[in-house]
Symmetry: C2
Subunit: 323 residues, 2 copies
DNA sequence: TCATGATATGGGCAAATGCTCAAATCTAAT
DNA sequence: ATTAGATTTGAGCATTTGCCCATATCATGA
C-alpha cells in the first residue's frame, strides 16, 4: 500500500505553497486524477488537495485554451475585416449573456499577444491603458520577450498625482521581461504652458519619439457616456464631458476624443494630452474592446479608419456588423 | 425568462458538432459555468452539455497548461544541464506513479515545440520517429509554421512494406503546415547493394542532405531490452538483438545502436540504416524520453554527448542524476 | 414501405467536488 | 510567556458531475 510521496516531492520541506498548488493542478488537469488520488499521491488530505487546485485556478496558474476555431467566430472575423478594411480581427466565443465580456475576451487575447512576443525579431510595441488591457495582461503567461521594447502611449500620472490605476506597461514588462519605457508624466496638462513643459522633458520626448516609431500599437477604447472612464477617473470635469459630447465626441483612444465618423475633435481637451495621438499612419493599431457600452466608440473608430485590427467578442462583433 | 440561444449560435443549423463541443468547453472552462447553465445558454439538455464538454476534452480541443515552473523541476533541469553539459533541459512534473509517463510528458513538451515553430525565422527541423514523438505531436496545437521545413531522419517503410506506424513527420506537418520531406524509403536495407541503391535515389539523397543541414533535430530514444522497439516492429531479428546486446548495445536513436558509453556500434545492423546517423556534430539534438525502461539508453546517450538537450519527466530526471 | 443496426437522448444514481463552519495552528506584539 | 488576530485544517453537507441504461431517432438496404 503506497502512501504517496513516491515522486520525492513533498518530503522536500522547502517546496513553496504555489509549487504544491501547481503540482496538484497538474495532477488534476493533466493527469486526470481525482482529488482523493491527488491527496494520496501528495500525502495530504482531500480537502487540502481541493484547496490547492482551487487556488491554482484562482491565482491563474492554469491556462485553459480551446484549440478549435469555432466556425461562427471565424466568419465574424472575416466579416469584420471585409467591412472595415482591417488587416486582422479576432473574435472570441461569447460567454453567457450579461456576464462581463472580458471574462471571455481576455483569456482569448492573451495567447495571441504571447505569440507577438515570442517572435525572435525585435519589435517595439506601443501600449495604451485601461481596464481592458489590464485584464488581458493578467492573462498573459510569462514569455521571454527581453529583446522587445514596450513604450507607453500615454502619461502615467492621474490628475490627483497618483499613478494611473490602469497602467499596463509595467505589468506587461513583468510578464515579457521586455525593456519598457513608461511615459512618466501626467496624462493631461492643465494648460498650454504645462504641456510645453512636460513635452520638453527629455524622458517624455524620448518616450513620445519611441512611441511614434513603434511597430505595433495595442490600445483599448473608451466610451463617452455618463460613466466615461475619462470622467470617472477625473481626467474630465462634468462640464467638459457635456461639452465634448455636444461637439460630437463618442469615444476616445488613449485620451484623444473622436466623433462618430472617427475624426479627432478640435477641442482643448484633446490638445492638452501629454501622450501621443495614436499614430495610425505610421503603424498598425490593434484595439481590444467588447461590450455594449463600447459599441458606438468602436464603430466610429473602425469606420473612421483609426484601427488596423480589432479583438472583440462574438456579441460585439455581431452588433458591429449588423449595422 | 431567457431560454438561451441569445448569442445567435445554436439556431444556425449548420454549426458542426465540434464547434458546439468547443463552445460548450469554452463556456465550461473559461466561463466557469455549470453544466446546467451551459445547457440553458445553448438551449440543450444538461446531459448533452456534459457530453459535449467530455467530447471536447477527449478530442483534444482543450489545452490545459500549468503556467508555474515548479521549483523542484527547475532544479532538476539545472542539474541535468550541469551534469551532462546540455544546452537545454525540460523536466515535466511527475504524473502519479505507475502511469504512462507520456501522459504528463507529451502535454508538457508540446507547447515548447510550438514555440520553436512560432519563430518567424525559417528553420529546418530534423525529426525521428517512435511512440513518444507521435504522442507529443498529438498534443501540438495548430501553429502557422509554413515557413519552416521538416525533414525525417529515418526511412518510413517497415520491413513488411507498410508505412512505419510511428512516423511523425506527416502529423507534424499537418499541425504546422510546414513543408515536409519524409524519407520515402525503407528504414533499413537488407544488404549493401540495396543500401547503395536506396541512398542513390534522388529523393533519398535530397532528404539525407537536408537532414544533415537541419538547424535542430528532435528525436526519441529506444531501449534494447526484450521488448526493444526495433525488435518488436520487426527491424531486428531475435538473433540480431542478442548479438547487439552482446556487443554492448544499450539504446538506439533513429535506429542507430550505441553502447553504454554512447558510442555507436560498428555492427552490420547500424551500417544498413538508410537514414542518417544523428549528426550531433552539425546541429543540436534534443531527445524526448521518459520511463524506467529508457533509463540506460538515455544515460548512455547523455554521457556520450549524443544529445544537446533533453525533455523528460521528474522521475526519470531524478534517476538520471542520482547516478 | 419496412426492418435493422447504429447513434443520440434524457432519467436516475453514485461518485466527485465545492463550500461553510468550527476547531486548531501559527504569528507577532506585549 | 501570553494573548489577540490571522491563517490553516478537516468534518459535514449541498451541489455538480460522470456514467449506465432504457428509449427514441436516424440512416441504410431489402
Amino acid at each position: 500500500m503506497t502512501k504517496g510521496n513516491v515522486q520525492g516531492c513533498v518530503e522536500d520541506s522547502d517546496v513553496s505553497p504555489r509549487d504544491l498548488a501547481a503540482r496538484a493542478a497538474w495532477l488534476s488537469f493533466v493527469g486526470g486524477m481525482t482529488q482523493d488520488q491527488i491527496a494520496q499521491e501528495l500525502g495530504i488530505s482531500r480537502q487540502r488537495a481541493q484547496r490547492l487546485v482551487a487556488r491554482a485556478s484562482a491565482e491563474g496558474l492554469i491556462r485553459v485554451r480551446i484549440d478549435h476555431p469555432i466556425a461562427r467566430c471565424l466568419e465574424l472575423e472575416r466579416d469584420l475585416k471585409d467591412r472595415f478594411g482591417l488587416e486582422a480581427a479576432w473574435v472570441s466565443p461569447g460567454i453567457g449573456t450579461g456576464a462581463d465580456p472580458l471574462i471571455g475576451l481576455a483569456p482569448f487575447v492573451a495567447p495571441v499577444l504571447e505569440r507577438f512576443f515570442e517572435d525572435t525579431q525585435s519589435k517595439t510595441f506601443a501600449l495604451g491603458t485601461g481596464r481592458t488591457l489590464k485584464t488581458v495582461v493578467e492573462h498573459l503567461r510569462t514569455v521571454d520577450g527581453a529583446h522587445h521594447k514596450l513604450v507607453s502611449l500615454i502619461g502615467n500620472v492621474a490628475p490627483d498625482g497618483s499613478a494611473s490605476f490602469y497602467e499596463v506597461i509595467m505589468r506587461f514588462a513583468e510578464k515579457t521581461r521586455a525593456k519598457h519605457y513608461p511615459m512618466s508624466a501626467p496624462v493631461s496638462a492643465r494648460d498650454d504652458a504645462e504641456l510645453v513643459l512636460y513635452r520638453s522633458l527629455p524622458h517624455v520626448k524620448a518616450s513620445r519619439a519611441l512611441a511614434k516609431s513603434a511597430d505595433l500599437a495595442i490600445v483599448g477604447i473608451g466610451q463617452m457616456g455618463d460613466d466615461a472612464p475619462l470622467y470617472v477617473d477625473g481626467f474630465l470635469t462634468a462640464e467638459e464631458l457635456t461639452d465634448l459630447r455636444a461637439a460630437g465626441g463618442v469615444g476616445e483612444i488613449c485620451g484623444h476624443i473622436f466623433d462618430g465618423a472617427g475624426r479627432y475633435l478640435d477641442h482643448p481637451v484633446n490638445h492638452r494630452m501629454v501622450g501621443v495621438q495614436v499614430p495610425v499612419q505610421e503603424m498598425p493599431v490593434y484595439c481590444v474592446a467588447a461590450g455594449d457600452s463600447k459599441l458606438p466608440a468602436l464603430r466610429a473608430a473602425l469606420g473612421g479608419g483609426l484601427l488596423a485590427g480589432v479583438f472583440t467578442d462574438e456579441r460585439t462583433a455581431r452588433d458591429l456588423i449588423s449595422q
